[in-house]
């Protein structure tokens, strides 16, 4: 099974085609790399409400890992633990540990602000800043003081090309980003997230508010970007998990029920609950 994918050459700006290596080979290659995020006995509380219960897992490098499970099972909560976005929710408490490239990110000494420079995030609803398209993508670069204005200009172009938005917006980079269509906005957010070259991209149901065509574009991009970034995607859409992920984790009521290569989860789940969910018997 080989998937032809369109992308752009950063130097010449010309379109090129690639064939992604077939999936089983991929997984083998990824499995050989050390995991980028390790979760150990992680529990999360919102006040007295426990949202995650003793989760232990490893997120493989340069692969797409999908979190599936019924609404409210804690997928987003776990995702937000990876870049400590939960810090902003009052009265949250975390026990257990999360390692990012062997650094314990819940260590007292760690600066979560810095962490988010390496672990980017794309949200469920597209959330471009009400500024120009250019400023949106340049935001992170300016924020972290990366590059000269000229380099920033180049990087903005590269990122917009990577998300396939360059041709659509190159003549109106000064236009307010909120005037883009929903799908374009979400791709812009993706470009903004990858502009600072994070190691990991977290995506929380990135396509759930989009129409099928825009969704397909986003999925295509995800497949494209996984060469460069480790991607963790939350989705409640099983077909989507099947299409884009290499690994799939099934959560239920705050617990990690099963985590395996996508093929195994979808064709031969070990747990009954997983099978029931995948076959649409609850959720």
């Amino acid at each position: 099974m080989s998937t032809p994918v369109q992308t752009y050459d950063a130097d010449s700006g010309q379109a090129k085609s690639y064939t992604l290596a077939s999936a089983p080979d991929e997984t083998a290659r990824q499995a050989a790399l050390p995991p980028i995020i390790q979760v150990e006995h992680l529990s999360l509380f919102y006040g007295r409400h426990q949202a995650l219960n003793d989760v232990t897992m490893q997120i493989p490098r340069q692969a797409v890992t999908a979190f599936i499970g019924p609404s409210g099972c804690g997928k987003s909560s776990l995702l937000r633990c990876f870049n400590r976005m939960n810090d902003f929710i009052p009265k949250t408490r975390v026990t257990g540990r999360v390692f990012f490239q062997n650094q314990d990110i819940y260590d007292q000494q760690i600066n979560p602000i810095r962490l988010r420079r390496y672990i980017g995030m794309v949200f469920q609803r597209s959330n471009p800043f009400p500024q120009s398209i250019f400023d949106n993508v340049a935001f992170g670069l300016r924020l972290h003081r990366l590059g000269t204005p000229q380099e920033i200009g180049q990087q903005v172009e590269i990122c917009l090309q990577k998300v396939g938005l360059w041709e659509e917006v190159k003549d109106r980079l000064k236009m307010n980003a909120v005037n883009l269509s929903g799908g374009q906005q979400q791709r812009l957010c993706l470009a903004r997230a990858i502009s600072i070259n994070p190691q990991v991209l977290l995506m929380d149901e990135p396509a759930s508010a989009l129409d099928p065509v825009a969704t397909a574009k986003i999925e295509e991009l995800i497949l494209n970007l996984k060469q460069d970034y480790t991607i963790v995607i939350v989705t409640h859409n099983m077909q989507q998990a099947g299409r884009v992920s290499d690994y799939t984790a099934f959560f239920y009521m705050g617990q990690l029920v099963e985590f395996d290569a996508k093929e195994n989860i979808f064709s031969s789940p070990k747990e009954e609950a997983t099978e029931a969910y995948i076959n649409g018997r609850f959720g």
């Binding site: 949200f123 800043f129 997230a193």
Partner: protein, 325 residues
């Protein structure tokens, strides 16, 4: 109940009873609303129709006492220049004092405090209370704290003089009193403006590794600035119309000179209306003067209000556009 038991009737989907509770009730409520709108219209029309003729540039730019100070109530020679200057200086100072504190409090409540925490609850309820304290109480407060305690304290311990310099009613104390009075207006408007900025774009900035302050400064405040400004305008309009708080803290019946500094008392439009209405010997004679002064005051506050309402509508429309796309 099966359909067999239903009597044979034709469905009546068209008739609308003319006299039903619905129509009569709605009519009564509607007339109440229109009556109120009409009253407002009448008030404005009445004041303007009586006062517009006197409202000439000469009137605005003529000193209150005419040329010699004797004819303050003389409609032929007296103007409102002193009062306009006093009012403008007063609200200008007040704005400078209230805006930073009000905006920062609004920012704290909406951006930094957990809305369920005791701190933010107490601050919020203080703001609500401040908004409900009678304005005459602010006058007493300003007199007690600013004039008699702080001002007299400065005179006694820093300047060491017997002649009151700071320890008397003056521009600065009146402005401070009004600043405390208008604090809730600014805080509430700031909060509203900040709340209208979607959380999702804050998340976006935070998720890129911006700190809370960076997010606030680069993303949130530029979005909220128009709304915050509206709050400032509303505060100015509110401050320009208040008389009771400045009666004991700075406004005076008559002054020969314009105020020269922060420690000078001043004449003020609203207070002057009160004085003319109560102190003049022949009210029919000062009537034209009185109406022109009231018109000046009303136009000043209405103009500010209109600007604020217009600005707010624009912000609201932009936000709606934001949410639709």
């Amino acid at each position: 109940m099966s359909s067999a038991y239903l009597p044979e009737t034709k469905l009546d989907l068209f008739s609308v009873p003319i006299f039903s509770r619905t129509t009569i009730g709605t009519a009564i409520f509607r007339s109440a609303a229109f009556f109120l709108a009409g009253v407002v219209f009448l008030i404005v029309a009445y004041v303007l129709s009586e006062g517009w003729r006197g409202l000439t540039p000469g009137f605005i730019f003529t000193r209150a006492g005419g040329s010699n100070g004797e004819g303050m109530f003389d409609p032929e020679h007296s103007g409102v220049f002193d009062m306009v200057v006093g009012t403008v200086l007063l609200v200008f100072l007040m704005t400078i004092l209230v805006m930073p504190v009000g905006i920062i409090t609004g920012i704290f409540l909406n951006e930094f405090a957990d809305s369920r925490s005791w701190t933010s609850r107490i601050i919020r309820s203080s703001i609500n209370n401040l908004a409900g304290v009678p304005s005459i109480i602010f006058g007493l407060f300003g007199l007690g704290l600013f004039v008699l305690t702080i001002g007299s304290g400065i005179d006694a311990y820093i300047l060491q003089t017997k002649n009151p310099v700071w320890g008397k009613p003056s521009l600065i104390w009146a402005a401070l009193t009004l600043a405390v009075l208008t604090l809730p207006v600014v805080v509430v408007s700031t909060e509203q403006a900040l709340r209208a900025v979607p959380t999702s774009i804050r998340d976006a900035a935070l998720g890129m590794g911006a700190t809370k302050l960076q997010t606030l400064w680069k993303i949130v405040l530029p979005q909220a600035s128009a709304g915050i400004l509206t709050g400032g305008i509303l505060a100015v309009s509110r401050g320009a119309g208040e008389v009771a708080p400045i009666m004991f803290t700075g406004a005076v019946y008559y002054m020969k000179n314009l105020p020269q500094g922060l420690t000078d008392p001043f004449m003020e439009l609203g207070y002057h209306v009160y004085n003319m209405a109560t102190q003049s010997i022949n009210i029919d004679q000062v009537r034209p003067l009185l109406f022109s002064t009231v018109t000046t005051l009303l136009l000043l506050t209405f103009l500010l209000n209109a600007v604020a309402i217009f600005a707010r509508a624009r912000v609201r429309r932009r936000l709606q556009n934001l949410q639709h796309d």
